[in-house]
């Protein structure tokens, strides 16, 4: 991928590319993807078409993060992935130090794919490991086992990747705290630079959502979460967002744009964008996307959440939290009502502050929905 000197570029932009193919859908996942592999060629062409089109429109921007997610980007194979990466480099101004991430599934991350990605500038891989126990993997409909995940990560290192993130899930049906912590520990032996640990959420439109299994209760999940936080902290990770942990210097710069209200462009069915204060998304329909009928639609703004509410919502997900000065400067609002709530939260150990910067504690992260609503409400 051709890179430019960041200093000469324009406004920074995050670029997200959605690869809506999976060998098999996982039972819990509600991201848009299909299992019909026959559309891969047409889809790659369509994506490149839009990369070109949007590349022209975004000529004032310099792309400093690229994130190829899915679906399962790696199941596209080395050839198509290379084409896409080449197109990105050709059509957008890419910052020299750009973070370029690809989501990898263990079963489809072979040497050819890894080498192709490395060759085309990919410098960060995010592996969907999810668990270190094969029974758990099977339970949630993953088609790989942990040995495959270990092998894929090893192979990635051999191919020259040095910034590797692993995804894990807690709160799986029948999963005990000990089992989950064991998964974390086993993953740590793979020496990742970054970990994303998501609690399983049952989405109604998924097989697992319909099955509606009994999940560990809230207290168990909360205890598991806090134990995980302690374990990762002991192992040198910074807890920089509700579900994300990184070794110093390895925070995900792309994901951070979501939490920082920075600009990002998402291409592909179901991909979301935030450009110049406007939010829009492509329909979750691959055929419409391929045919070019899919025009991104502006997302309906939720009236009650004003700008400052949105700012608080995303900022409070991070360990940086929300700076009251920043909030005041951005939106010209009085921060007194917010601070009042923060003080109450602090008394209960849910929030803390350094100067004017308020952030949630790990206990606070656990109940962040209630907190965000309470804080936003205070400002209304």
């Amino acid at each position: 991928m051709k890179k430019t000197n960041a200093a000469t570029g324009g406004k920074p932009l995050g670029l997200y590319l959605h690869i809506p193919f999976c060998v098999k859908k996982c039972a819990y996942c509600d991201f848009y993807s299909i299992t019909d592999a026959s559309l891969k060629a047409d889809y790659t062409a369509a994506l490149i078409r839009d990369i070109k089109a949007y590349g022209e429109r975004c000529s004032g921007y310099t792309v400093d993060t690229v994130y190829i997610g899915g679906g399962t980007p790696t199941c596209l194979g080395a050839g198509y992935l290379s084409e896409i990466l080449q197109a990105v480099g050709a059509c957008f101004a890419i910052a020299e130090n750009a973070e370029i991430t690809v989501e990898c599934n263990p079963e489809s991350t072979d040497q050819a794919v890894l080498e192709a990605m490395h060759k085309h500038g990919v410098n960060r891989l995010s592996f969907g490991v999810q668990a270190a126990h094969d029974t758990e993997l099977k339970r949630i409909g993953r088609i790989h086992d942990f040995a495959q995940a270990q092998a894929a990560v090893e192979l990635a290192r051999q191919c020259g990747f040095t910034n590797i993130s692993l995804d894990l899930m807690y709160g799986l049906p029948d999963q005990t705290q000990a089992q989950f912590l064991d998964s974390v520990t086993q993953c740590l032996t793979l020496n990742p630079q970054h970990l994303s640990c998501y609690g399983l959420k049952l989405e109604p439109a998924t097989p697992m959502g319909r099955e509606n299994p009994v999940l560990p209760d809230d207290d168990t999940q909360a205890d598991t979460y806090l134990a995980m936080c302690r374990l990762l902290c002991r192992n040198g990770f910074e807890h920089y967002e509700i579900s994300n942990f990184a070794k110093p210097g390895f925070r995900s710069r792309h994901n951070f744009k979501y939490w920082d209200l920075s600009d990002y462009l998402g291409l592909g069915p179901g991909a979301h964008s935030f450009l110049n204060g406007r939010r829009f998304a492509f329909a979750r329909d691959i055929r419409a996307y391929i045919s070019g009928e899919s025009i991104p639609q502006d997302e309906e703004e939720v009236s009650d959440f004003r700008r400052q509410g949105e700012y608080l919502m995303v900022r409070l997900r991070t360990s940086d939290g929300a700076d009251m000065h920043d909030l005041e400067n951005r939106y010209h609002v009085s921060t007194a009502p917010y601070e009042q709530v923060f003080c109450m939260l602090e008394k209960h150990g849910l929030a803390a502050h350094e100067g004017t910067r308020w952030y949630l504690t790990e206990q606070g992260f656990l109940v962040s929905n209630s907190i965000i609503n309470a804080v936003v409400e205070a400002g209304e």
């Binding site: 959605h18 609690g199 809230d218 999940q221 939010r279 309906e300 959440f305 109940v367 929905n369 936003v376």
Partner: protein, 603 residues
């Protein structure tokens, strides 16, 4: 001139589900009072709620004509009666308007207690009771056994009672013939001064109040000036006539023995009380009919709308219901927790439930109601007496000289085998046993004096549950008696929740307080911080529970850049929160309130 000899006034007594309404429908059909096309099931129970619950709430009357086997045509007036202890008085007035009653008994289930109570009321009122064995089409039907039961328990001949199936339309003709032959024609003197018994009234938006009555003596016709003897209200009759199944049928006049209605631009049903006597302003009858009793609310509760802005709608709805229900009383009250609402008075618990349900259904209101209460009497140290049905107004202990609570005389009729189940229950509810009488070899009547407050919550239901539905209950107010009453306050996070306070006998306060605490704990969602729940008498905490702090409420997932989705999820939670009532620092969902307020003595 109508022939009094060819009038029959009767009602139907039956246990729920024994087929009263179906039989009524069949009678109407056979008399061609309604065509099959117009036939709607349970024509008489025309309130949606009545059809659904299978109970009759308001008395209703309908006239039909029947040409008997003897060739004569009879005017048949069926006066339908409510069937619950709350409405015993209304039942007694309806029966007083009849000369006979059909006692409908299920051929499989046999006689049941609820029927017994009403049957005795009918016999006491001097009515001819004609047993009818229904549902003979059922495989389990055993007509001979049921007939014997009727003879043994009630003591009326039943050997040649009609065996019918209202559902399958079997032997309905025989029932009509028996009405003609067994039930006496009404007595009365058409030339005497007017004396008519009001057994119900209903508000019509065009005609004003329609007064349903039975003429005992005299005549009534449009233009006549009439007087309600109990309320003293006078009216000029605009219209009088018969109640036909599908509507009112105006007539020139109504005579002694007949059942009918009159209208006179009457604005409030409270002017036309059930049991009152209608007479002429000129040439009045010297003596009113016996048995009139003013409607007296026994049970009170606060009614609020879930959405505070609907308060005016609630007021309108109550006013409309009151047009038809003189026993319903209400006055405005307010609560910190619930906002503006009304303190409403009812005849009993069923009456209360019915009003609540009608408000919700017919007026589309979402209600929050407080725990029911009776009226307490408090003599204060300054010599004054305060009557109080609202815990909020209850004086503080230091100014109370003596507190009194109302007592009722409760009569429970039950097959002997259940006496052992009933007595501990009455004792537990502070009942004072008076005596027990054997009505026959099996049936007994127990007499208790009990605090009204112990009866109103769920006594009737509990009684039914412990007697397989056989026992019947009647109660009558006796007097106020000295009682060791306390007011219990509920506190959430240290703040008092006024709508949850209650007055109770000291012995009962602790148990109830503990149950309310438990119910609150079950129903209050976990909040960001721990919420203590306390029940206190004066400053002394008598029960406590704690709602643990919320541990997990987080969107762990990233959803790519789909911030809108996150916002929507949070919005949805906020919407949910809007349905909550903020009590000080605690968010309480309305359902939690409802669950606690619906608390009954059994759980």
């Amino acid at each position: 001139m109508k022939n009094r000899e060819q009038i029959r006034n009767f009602s139907i007594i039956a246990h729920i589900d024994h087929g009263k309404s179906t039989l009524a429908d069949r009678l109407l059909e056979q008399c061609k009072a309604v065509s099959v096309r117009e036939m709607e099931e349970q024509l008489l129970d025309n309130m949606e709620l009545e059809r659904e619950r299978g109970i009759t709430i308001k008395a209703r009357a309908v006239r039909m004509e029947y040409t008997a086997d003897n060739g004569k045509t009879y005017e048949m007036n069926l006066i339908d009666t409510p069937g619950h202890v709350d409405f015993n008085y209304e039942v007694s007035r309806s029966l007083a308007a009849c000369e006979g009653a059909l006692l409908v008994v299920d051929a499989a289930q046999g006689i049941e207690a609820q029927t017994l109570g009403n049957t005795y009321l009918a016999i006491d009122a001097g009515l001819e009771v004609v047993p009818v064995i229904n549902k003979i089409d059922l495989p389990a039907a055993d007509a001979p056994r049921v007939k014997k039961e009727i003879e043994d328990i009630i003591g009326i001949p039943a050997e040649d009672s009609p065996e019918i199936s209202a559902k399958m339309n079997i032997n309905i003709h025989e029932v009509l013939e028996r009405i003609v032959t067994d039930i006496p024609a009404p007595e009365g003197d058409a030339d005497a001064p007017l004396r008519a018994l009001v057994f119900d009234s209903q508000y019509d938006p065009y005609k004003g109040v329609v007064v349903y009555m039975r003429l005992l003596d005299g005549k009534i016709c449009p233009g006549m000036k009439v007087k309600m003897m109990a309320t003293g209200a006078e009216f000029q009759v605009l219209e009088c006539g018969y109640m036909l199944p599908l509507g009112l049928s105006p007539q020139q006049e109504l005579c002694a023995g007949e059942v009918g209605y009159f209208t006179a631009s009457i604005k409030k049903v409270s002017d036309t009380r059930v049991g009152d006597t209608v007479t002429g302003v000129e040439n009045p009858t010297p003596e009113a009919l016996p048995g009139y009793r003013p409607a007296r609310p026994m049970v009170f509760c606060g009614i609020y709308t879930e959405d505070g802005s609907k308060y005016p709608d609630l007021r309108d709805a109550l006013e409309k219901l009151q047009l038809n229900d003189a026993a319903l009383s209400f006055e405005p009250e307010s609560s910190v927790a619930l906002g503006f609402g009304f303190r409403c008075g009812f005849l009993g618990m069923l009456h209360m439930e019915i009003i609540q349900e009608r408000l919700e259904r017919e007026f589309d209101l979402d209600l929050v109601t407080t725990l029911p209460s009776v009226i307490y009497e408090v003599s204060k140290t300054d010599g004054t007496v305060q009557r109080c049905d609202n815990p909020h107004d209850y004086p503080s202990p230091d100014v109370i000289e003596e507190a009194r609570e109302p007592y009722v005389k409760a009569s429970i009729m039950t097959p002997q085998e259940f006496v052992g189940n009933i007595m501990p229950m009455c004792q537990d509810r502070r009942g004072i046993f008076k005596d027990m009488q054997y009505l026959d070899s099996n049936l007994v009547e127990l007499h208790y004096e009990m605090p009204t407050g112990e009866i109103i919550y769920d006594f009737f239901d509990a009684l039914k549950a412990r007697t397989k539905g056989y026992a019947s209950l009647d109660y009558e107010f006796i007097d106020y008696r000295k009682s060791d009453l306390v007011k219990v306050d509920m506190l959430l996070n240290g703040d008092q929740v006024d709508a949850l306070s209650f007055i109770a006998h000291r012995d009962k306060a602790y148990g109830r307080a503990r149950r309310i605490c438990e119910k609150l704990k079950e129903n209050i969602p976990r909040q960001l911080f721990e919420v203590p729940i306390q029940a206190a008498i004066g400053g002394k905490v008598i029960a406590r529970e704690t709602v643990k702090a919320l541990r997990k409420d987080v969107l762990a997932k990233c959803y790519g850049g789909d911030i809108t989705r996150k916002k929507k999820l949070l919005e949805k939670q906020k919407e949910g929160k809007k349905k909550m009532r903020a009590l000080g620092t605690v968010q309480l969902p309305t359902e939690a309130f409802m669950a606690v307020l619906k608390l009954d003595e059994e759980n």
